[in-house]
Point group: C2
Chain length 349, copies 2
Amino acid sequence: MEQKKGFNVAVVGATGAVGQQMIKTLESRDFPISTLTLLSSKRSAGTKVTYKGQEVTVQEATPESFKGIDIALFSAGGGVSKELAPHAVEHGAIVVDNTSAFRMDENVPLVVPEVNQEDLFKHNGIIANPNCSTIQMVVALEPLKAKYGLSKVLVSTYQAVSGSGAAAVEELNSQTKAIINNESFEPKILPVKSDKKHYQIAFNAVPQIDVFTENGFTYEEMKMINETKKIMHDDTLKVAATCVRIPVATGHSESVYFELNDNNVTVADIKEILKSAPGVVLQDDPENQIYPMPANCVGLNDTFVGRIRKDLDVENGFHMWVVSDNLLKGAAWNSVQIAESLVELGIVK
Amino acid sequence: MEQKKGFNVAVVGATGAVGQQMIKTLESRDFPISTLTLLSSKRSAGTKVTYKGQEVTVQEATPESFKGIDIALFSAGGGVSKELAPHAVEHGAIVVDNTSAFRMDENVPLVVPEVNQEDLFKHNGIIANPNCSTIQMVVALEPLKAKYGLSKVLVSTYQAVSGSGAAAVEELNSQTKAIINNESFEPKILPVKSDKKHYQIAFNAVPQIDVFTENGFTYEEMKMINETKKIMHDDTLKVAATCVRIPVATGHSESVYFELNDNNVTVADIKEILKSAPGVVLQDDPENQIYPMPANCVGLNDTFVGRIRKDLDVENGFHMWVVSDNLLKGAAWNSVQIAESLVELGIVK
């Protein structure tokens, strides 16, 4: 029997919402680890985290932290990635970066394993994990694109607050309590902590995720547009997005309209393809009120698809509803899945 | 000085969420009323309601309740409207019906005063008030259609639970409390009280409003599609909708994509038109994080529009975000506004 090789793995941002999920996912997937190095800011260093029954102490991330590391999973903000990822690469590690720092860099593959796993071979030390809302959408669209071709995507999102981190979840919870108890509260984090104004998220819908760009779209919307084209290798694909935060802790939902390059596709054809598509769970039975909902997807790695309908006017147009755990497939699981692919494909040895 | 004429007004469903808003709106608009008759089911009869400082006792609605009534505002469910509206008409009343009972009847005008007030002249005793989610969308689209022509509308909704009545709001509140206190709960009302299954709405997004039709769209979605075409007098208009319930008590939001019949329209042109459009308040200043949100629209009659963007691929395509109080412009205010129009246009005398 072949001895399972173990790798030296580092998690940067180990105390954050996504970092915690990464550690849990490495554990639940039984990822072949020789040593696990948990890194964070100076402020969080010293925190103890349990991995497979053993206590691991989180250390401050420095350029020297990456000596001997094979795979480094980054999720500590774009600034940390920009500063430390090059040092990790210098030390011979392959970086899987969950921030937006390198996503649109043409030398950095942007990977969703179900969609473009082969792009991993083109890495130059860094592999980018796409934006959470992009990942679940392309997982659902790719098998349809592969079979029929895809020309247009229009998405409106219903995004959970955990995409903004643990403090945003705490803000949703404390605001909800305040409103229910008729107490006053002061929004401090959402929609964007660094932006000028903060708004109520409890019992509200906020049409701003990330800051605004000059064309009126937010960065989140532009990420969905540009990342989808990059992952799907199609600059001519028409993509538009409206990104909205709703009072859900975890689980992004998306109302997706798309047009295929084939006028003879039926809803049954689409269901048949998605039923066996990698990473997809079809939940589509209107008669029995079966459709995906964020409350049912928490803690699961899959992307759930339902409400598939043929447009009533456009022959090649369809609608669907796509839901996934934004901390898992949208972040931690996709990162660990990239790491697993690196092992499977022999890219990391 | 001309003596202001008063009318004999009846409100059917006076104890319901919309009925209560109708009474408040009649009061705040100082609608010219001689007598106010409040009607309900037998169960709610006897309830006392204050109107302009005076107590009015709600009576059981029967066919004979409408003798001498000039205007009857119905909002007690489709069954009640089907049964009693013809009796009201027989007794000489003009019925403004807020249910879906007569909306698609070709002998019944379906009216949003800002859009098709002139259709009121074609009434045969009954005038239908459109579905809440339809009304706010057509208020925002009509001035653009009037100037440039409109060919296509794709909408994804973020709908408040009060659209399902006061019991649904109570369910949202009690479920929210239960989840926050880590207590168990049993969904009983949403998404559709009469349907087989009921789902959690607190901290969730439910892609079902009303029951499903055979084509996979829900009735709510088909209402938005068919009513929009009827109100805008354009059977060739392409309309598609995905309707979703979110944990907001009051205030529907909509992500609307639309295409105009003119390739040279700018975002500035659209803002200029909407700035002075009837019933519309433009809230669109991304730099200062100004955009509409349901938490800010409660209790207001207007339709709020923001996040207007030109599509990046389609010359004549635009995106916008439309928010309004679903109990007011979506129901009570539009009904009272129809009644005001009937008076202004001399249709009721």
